[in-house]
């Protein structure tokens, strides 16, 4: 799988950022939250509804900017610039934990989770 984890400074660069769910984690929707298991860190995370929406759209082919515009702003009534800033911070944190993969180019999704319910 292509793609690499980027730092915050790189995430804030002008180009599109593509995000994909890591192949190394386990995840499922439990009610209104997503539960994520990171075996390598022996850690469990839960994502709230906004973070879960980003997670669900992280297919490697859709840029984070599009995810924010198309889903977050519409569903959660938040200003685009605020939503993008928060989304980038979330992506950075999850990428730092190996939960998401970030790249400036679309990410091949073979063996990526095809179902994040």
């Amino acid at each position: 799988m292509s793609g690499e984890v980027r730092t915050q400074r790189e995430l804030h660069s002008p180009g599109k950022q593509y995000v994909a769910r890591s192949t190394q984690i386990a995840a499922r929707r439990i009610g209104d939250e997503i539960m994520i298991m990171s075996g390598s860190e022996a850690t469990v995370y839960t994502l709230n509804d906004v973070a879960a929406a980003i997670w669900e759209e992280a297919d490697g082919a859709t840029a984070i900017q599009e995810i924010v515009e198309r889903r977050i702003c519409k569903e959660f009534d938040v200003a685009p610039e605020v939503a993008l800033q928060d989304a980038l911070a979330l992506v950075e944190e999850l990428a730092g934990h190996g939960v998401l993969v970030v790249s400036e180019a679309p990410i091949a999704t073979k063996m990526l989770g095809k179902d994040q319910r």
């Binding site: 984690i25 386990a26 499922r28 929707r29 939250e33 075996g39 469990v44 095809k114 179902d115």
Partner: protein
């Protein structure tokens, strides 16, 4: 992590989500463990395509934690095909195996597929004891080699031991071996009856003295004083609790597609070859009966002093004849732990004494009868 896991477990319980499922891929095995509860013949295992369909259904139902077990899972030629599919659906996968067939290449693939952990059955640190239990010469050496291969890949490994007469002196050795390998250790003090109800293998259970020694081994249980403390009986809150996660957030699917509340609770509740999993999970009368039972509904256990601390397994109770009854094996564990007999053990003792008294009475009558001719 534990509190978050507990929170998600409670959420799954409230939402009726089967958070954890054990899926056996085969009952065939390359070992013939003397204490095994399975019939190792193949009676028509599900195909890889059937497993994939089931995995889709389990993901849809909300299952996150998936245990793949058997039988020996590595005997399936399509094992990695099924595992890869499960991981593509983002299950957290735990494997239970004897690991005899896991070499460096298999360990590398398991790491690539990011399995959560691998549990390896090891019954002694001594080959003559372990191999006499598995009836497979050389099996201990192979299993330990596999543990090293898996560990070197950075995988989480656990050695799982089952306490029985043959190896009751050796669990400390297995624990030390696990420490040397840098892996976890787990000891199960319970021999499970055969799934067909045959209880003959229970004769392999250790006696009370050996069980008491295990229950009071600080290296195993931690704070002995706390672990073995005198129980208080069940509170009102305890009485409202469920006996265990079986049918609440957990269930088991056999290689033939049969759904049970638990691997140790062989109550047929549906078959995924005929009915979608979620329909079985939500509508099976058997699963609904199991999940309707609170501690309050257990006639003996709700009144027992061990009610709130007992490890009572409803599956073992079912195998003993009544899913609402006590599990005598767990009563014996509670007794070994605290020195206080359970209500069930007291009743059995009273019954045994009663029988002795009846036998005594019969003997007296017999004497009187037999002596009658002498006096006649």
């Amino acid at each position: 992590m534990n509190s978050l896991m507990a929170e998600m477990g409670e959420k799954a319980l409230a939402l009726g989500i089967p958070l954890t499922v054990q899926l056996d891929l085969t009952y065939r095995c390359n070992e013939r463990c003397v204490h095994c509860y399975l019939d190792h013949d193949d009676h028509g295992e599900m195909t890889a395509a059937e497993y994939k369909k089931l995995l889709d259904e389990l993901a849809e139902a909300g299952v996150l934690f998936l245990t793949l077990s058997g039988g020996e899972i590595m005997l399936r030629k399509d094992f990695f095909e099924i595992l890869e599919y499960a991981r593509s659906l983002m299950f957290s996968v735990k494997l239970k195996t004897n690991a005899v067939l896991i070499r460096e290449e298999e360990a590398r693939r398991l790491r690539e597929l990011a399995v959560e952990s691998v549990q390896i059955s090891v019954y002694s640190h001594r080959a003559e004891v372990h191999d006499a239990i598995t009836l497979l010469p050389g099996s201990l050496e192979k299993s330990i080699e596999a543990a090293r291969f898996l560990k070197s890949q950075g995988l989480r490994v656990m050695l799982a031991d089952v306490l029985m007469r043959q190896n009751q002196q050796d669990y400390g050795g297995v624990k030390a071996l696990a420490a040397e390998l840098g892996v976890q250790f787990f000891l199960d003090p319970t021999i499970t009856p055969m799934m067909d109800g045959d209880r003959s293998i229970l004769s392999l259970n250790v006696n009370q003295d050996a069980l008491q020694k295990v229950m009071r081994d600080e290296a195993l249980v931690g704070n002995v004083e706390e672990f073995c403390s005198i129980p208080n009986g069940a509170s009102e809150d305890d009485l409202e609790s469920f006996p265990c996660s079986a049918a609440h957030t957990f269930c088991y699917v056999s290689p033939y597609g049969d759904v049970y509340p638990c691997v140790q609770f062989p109550l047929p509740s549906g078959n995924v070859r005929r009915t979608p999993f979620l329909e079985i999970w939500n509508q099976s009368p058997q699963l609904n009966e199991v999940r309707s039972i609170h501690l309050r509904d257990l006639p003996s256990c709700s009144q027992c002093v061990h009610g709130n601390t007992c490890t009572r397994c409803p599956g073992l109770a079912f195998l003993e004849g009544n899913m609402r009854g006590p599990s005598t094996q767990d009563c014996e564990k509670s007794f070994a732990r605290t020195g206080i007999p359970s209500k069930n053990l007291e009743a059995k003792r009273a019954s045994a004494n009663g029988q002795s008294a009846v036998r005594g009475l019969i003997q007296i009558q017999g004497v009187s009868i037999s002596s009658a001719p002498q006096t006649a």
